[in-house]
């Protein structure tokens, strides 16, 4: 009888489906993956669809190189067009003005290594396209753009009206928008009192609550193999972001050219394979965790080995991992205990 009872308990627990809703969609030209735990299927689908609609709108507002409907440019596209025509100031939405102010602030903190004003350099390298192929490197164009020094501080932003003192500025929020969208989604879910969710936009991930009685667990992509290199638990409100040379790149004469451009040289950064940053929840009046998870990986990626720590500290980031061009792995002291290596025999160095 005892065994029969035991058997039934097993059978019945097997019947209860885990209350986990999961959806995958393509927005932002990338894969958006939403998991919601502990809500009914119906409500979870409603929440996920609203998040996706928000993302779609953001994409239309911020798309850097394509007309978003018919031949109408995005709001950011209109601003860029006005800047290069040298026109007078353009009225933008308060949301876009705030994003640009925040991005300027972050650009200053990064010593200009995070520089969303170099849209023209990015398109010279052919990365403002849905698909990219090897381009003929136009050294003159690169030299001219470097000389013109487009910077976020060239933008004059007053009462939602914007003009640029430098017509070579072209704002590309490619290293900001996905993180911003994560923050929007997290605050929407909190407002709706959905407590447990994991949102992944093109590899940038933010966690709310837990996956049942366990924390959400996230894998970190191996830069040269189709597998995770390590996993870690992402606690409530934490975000993680990875920048790699393996998602958007082309090969030319045996050399890899990735989409992360060093604003100091005008050339793709070449001493790094990937950088992962792990960001704790931030105070309400500060730049939020999602944006930081998107932005901070770039300066660390571009910086020389000696200056990576400084680049992270400028944003108060203590948890990060770097895999350099020689495939050597460096992990910050705080991050070491959080990682579970997929291959336990992996060799890495701990940063002081």
């Amino acid at each position: 009888m005892r065994y029969l009872l035991l058997l039934f308990t097993f059978l019945f627990t097997g019947c209860f489906k885990e209350p986990l809703y999961h959806s995958q969609s393509y927005v932002f030209g990338t894969l958006v993956d939403i998991s919601i735990y502990g809500e009914t299927d119906e409500r979870a689908r409603f929440l996920a669809n609203n998040i996706l609609a928000d993302f779609q709108n953001l994409h239309k507002q911020l798309h850097a190189w394509k007309p978003v409907s018919g031949n109408k440019l995005s709001e950011l596209g209109e601003l860029n067009a006005a800047i290069s025509a040298g026109n007078q100031s353009v009225k933008v939405s308060p949301a876009l003005a705030n994003m640009l102010l925040d991005a300027t602030d972050l650009s200053l903190k990064s010593n200009g290594l995070f520089n969303p004003a170099i849209g023209h350099l990015i398109s010279t390298w052919g990365f403002q396209r849905d698909e990219f192929s090897a381009v003929n490197v136009d050294e003159t164009a690169i030299k001219n753009l470097l000389h013109a020094q487009p910077r976020m501080t060239d933008l004059v932003i007053k009462a939602n009206a914007i003009y640029s003192t430098n017509p070579t500025v072209k704002v590309d929020l490619g290293g900001y928008a996905k993180g911003y969208a994560l923050d929007i989604a997290a605050s929407y879910l909190r407002k709706e009192q959905a407590k447990n969710a994991l949102i992944n936009i093109g590899g940038n991930v933010i966690a709310l609550g837990k996956h049942g009685d366990k924390p959400w667990r996230v894998g970190i992509q191996h830069p040269r193999a189709p597998t995770a290199i390590a996993t870690l638990d992402l606690a409530d409100g934490w975000a993680i972001g990875t920048s790699g040379d393996y998602q958007r790149y082309f090969m030319l004469n045996g050399q890899r050219y990735c989409h992360i451009i060093d604003p100091r040289t005008g050339y793709p950064a070449q001493q790094t394979q990937s950088v992962t940053v792990l960001v704790p929840p931030q105070a309400g009046n500060k730049t939020q965790a999602g944006v930081l998870s998107d932005v901070v990986s770039k300066p660390i990626f571009i910086e020389t080995a000696a200056n990576r720590n400084t680049a992270a500290q400028a944003f108060g980031i203590e948890n990060f991992m770097v895999i350099d061009a020689q495939a050597a792995i460096f992990v910050s002291a705080k991050m070491v205990n959080k990682l579970h290596w997929v291959d336990a025999s992996v060799k890495f160095s701990t940063l002081p």
């Binding site: 894969l31 993956d33 698909e131 994991l198 093109g202 590899g203 992509q221």
Partner: protein, 134 residues
């Protein structure tokens, strides 16, 4: 018979074992340990989940030989399944990153073709993680 004898007179039997017997016992233990490691703990995938656009298209067992023809955003793609592995074998995209990923065999491995909006994910009984930062 051997087992029964072992239970009755354990000491006697152990003394009677020859070097060959010991070798067989040790090799079997090593073999069992190896199989346990590779089949159990290494999270070998058992299924592949294919998504097209926003929908999960289907989930297939990896324990078969099969080609699946799919229609993505750009055009027709072919996914092959063979002996516990799966891969993109043809894709209409320009970059061919998905095809170059080659065979996937471990749980949690993914191949995503962004231009054609088709993705593969290998599944096991237990997932290694909830989502991937890439």
């Amino acid at each position: 018979m051997l087992v029964l004898n072992f239970l009755r007179y354990p000491k006697q039997l152990i003394n009677e074992l020859l070097i060959g017997d010991w070798l067989i016992i040790i090799l079997s233990l090593v073999g069992i340990f190896y199989l346990f490691q590779s089949l159990w703990t290494n999270e070998h995938a058992t299924k592949v989940q294919i998504s097209v656009g926003n929908e999960i298209y289907a989930t297939y067992s990896l324990n078969q030989q099969r080609e699946i023809h799919l229609h993505g955003k750009l055009g027709d793609a072919v996914i092959s399944i063979s002996q516990g592995k799966a891969r993109f074998s043809q894709s209409p995209c320009n970059t061919q990153y998905c095809v170059h990923q080659g065979w996937l065999s471990h749980a949690g491995q993914v191949a995503i073709c962004l231009p054609n909006q088709i993705s593969l994910e290998l599944l096991a009984e237990r997932k290694l993680y909830d989502s991937l930062s890439y």
